[in-house]
Amino acid sequence: MTTATAETKAGQEVTYLEAISQALDEEMTRDERVFLMGEDIGPYGGAFRITEGFQKKYGEWRVLDTPLAESGFVGAAIGAAMMGLRPVVEMQFADFISCAFDQITEVAAKNHYRWGAAVPMVIRAPFGGGVHGGPFHSECPEGWFFHSPGLKIVAPSTPYDAKGLLKAAIRDPNPVLYFEHKYLYRRIKAVLPAEDYIVPIGQADIKRPGTDITVVTYGAMVHLALEAAEQLSQEGIDLEVVDLRTLIPLDKETIFQSVRKTSKAILLHEDNKTGGIGAEIAALLAEDCFDCLDGPILRIAAPDTPVPFSAPMEEFFLPKASDVVAAARKLAAY
């Protein structure tokens, strides 16, 4: 496995996980204010080995192992950020972010609004199911924070976006929640540019242009949508896949432009259905694109249960390409 301390050769493919590692490494080299905090990120290199070799390269203080206390170390990161450092906090699993909910939503999110003190920090949160993690290691908790003004939220789906968005998040003057999908860590690869680049926060990306139906999605579900699109193209249904990449601030213009073109929309996410991000986008489409809609706005999401452990139940729980295919066929009939 390529680690951050072993240079990737130009032209060599890197995984989504390695792309995250590279972004951290390059930003730490570029800017000495950047440092990492979290559980087991030091000698162990993190639960997913994202920071393997980092402590040797950057020292104990810039790759700081913390006590098992998410609220405490997120609060500490806020304090350090206010003093001009650029902390990047690792949640071991996104599920554990609930322990730091108060510090994120009450302190970090409101700080600049209340009294003008910027909090430039990043919280990396490995999220999502499909890895047999059960109720406490599979969650998609982004919806909780979607409703908290003052936070930015990103969720990349490719190695290119993973690297570029993490760099942009680290350089951003605000608290940014970076949701990285565990299922994608070692399953997708890409050749990345040799030169420094960022993916600007706030810009969605059309991952597949199409004419008939828009699928708005993010994270691992992007790949599901692409798989469904391949299948549907054989039936003459042409899907356009909009990868949000950034959840806050939402790139409404790209969503609206796509739906104005196709007149049909499917909103797909792995998070639970009720009160999810799809619900908000459905409302936005109803408000801004009502005139151009030729069919109902459809949502595909996980059911309103915790993420179950046992394989048949988890498979049932997670949205599938066949769900997208079925929804697209239904919409195509309008």
């Binding site: 405490g72 003093m83 209340r114």
Partner: protein
């Protein structure tokens, strides 16, 4: 024979200069007069929202904040108006903040005691008690990482020490020997909840033992005692020896907020503590040291009265923000984050 009193007087004479003690006395009086005036405005219906005073507890914030250097940081809680004043937040800004005026430190975005200004080294208080303690550890961590000899002092109440954030902060600070001093204003009531229903231990300072943090109990109504303890702990932190915990025993003389008549507090308890008022104590000390007399105290009284009246005028004459300013400032700019 050297008595405890003699030792205390020796410490005061050795560690505190006359002018510094007089300045602290001035801040005690300024805090009391300002908060009494704000309470009066509240009773007249001229202030909306809550009024949380440090009445009878002013010596704590004044005592610790006066022990800090200019580049140090305070992360206070809601009974620390004295710390704002010592750090250079003006009485006029405090009144403007209470009135929701644009001239308040938060420009009307937040109210009453939620005052913060990084330029003056004040972290704004978050109502979720003890939330500022983890922040203080991160501030201290940044000092340590950059090799700066700066210190942060933070404070919370007895109730705040029940929160997980209190414990997470003390633990982290001790593990990494961070330059932070934790104060606790033990005023015996968290809103209406007495200590005995807050914790099973007798002294809050016992909590520090669990984290191998040296702890001390001081008389929170004794300005010099608080200041001496703060000095010692701050020196220790600055020298790289890590955090200290200081429990200040005191009594909340008003309700939790001024709307609260605090009938749940026995009157005898308040009468007993009224005799230990921090201003009276400071005056007795200054007199016995021969550093000031009643005429001097009266002069300070007149001075703070004038300053508070000017502050009220400043606050009331200041403009309110426009409604649509509510939409500004959700996100910071690059310039702000890099300044």
């Amino acid at each position: 024979m050297v008595t405890a009193d003699d030792a205390y007087m020796d410490d005061v004479k050795r560690e505190i200069k006359r002018d510094d003690l007089l300045r602290m006395y001035y801040y005690l009086r300024l805090t009391r007069t300002l908060e009494d005036r704000i309470t009066a405005l509240y009773r007249q219906g001229r202030i909306m929202g809550g009024v949380y005073t440090s009445n009878g507890m002013e010596a704590i914030a004044v005592g610790y904040a006066s022990a800090l250097e200019r580049d140090d940081i305070v992360a206070p809680y809601h009974r620390d108006v004295g710390a704002f004043l010592v750090r250079g937040i003006t009485p006029g800004e405090v009144v403007a903040q209470y009135l929701g005026k644009r001239t308040g430190p938060t420009k009307g975005k937040d109210g009453n005691v939620h005052i913060g200004d990084l330029k003056r080294g004040v972290i704004a208080f978050v109502s979720h008690l003890a939330d500022n303690l983890p922040l203080a550890t991160g501030i201290a961590l940044s000092f340590k990482m950059r090799g700066e000899s700066r210190v942060v002092v933070t404070n919370t109440g007895d109730g705040g020490t029940s929160r997980g954030d209190f414990h997470e902060a003390l633990n982290f600070a001790s593990v990494r020997k961070l330059p932070v001093v934790f104060f606790c204003n033990n005023n015996q009531y968290a809103y209406s909840t007495p200590l005995k229903h807050q914790m099973a231990i007798k002294d809050v300072v016992e909590r520090a033992k669990a984290y191998a943090i040296p702890g001390e109990i001081v008389d929170g109504n004794d300005l010099a005692a608080v200041h001496l303890a703060a000095q010692k702990a701050i020196r220790r932190a600055r020298a790289g020896a890590g955090p200290t915990f200081i429990e200040c025993k005191t009594m909340r003389m008003h309700g939790h907020s001024e709307h609260d008549s605090a009938k749940y507090v026995p009157r005898e308890l308040l009468e007993e503590w009224a005799k230990k008022d921090p201003i009276l104590k400071a005056e007795r000390l200054l007199t016995s040291l021969g550093w000031a007399d009643d005429a001097e105290f009266a002069k300070v009284g007149e001075r703070v009265q004038k300053e508070v009246e000017a502050a009220v005028k400043f606050g009331e004459d200041s403009p309110l923000p426009e409604g649509r300013e509510a939409l500004e400032g959700v996100f910071a700019t690059d310039e702000e984050a890099n300044s």
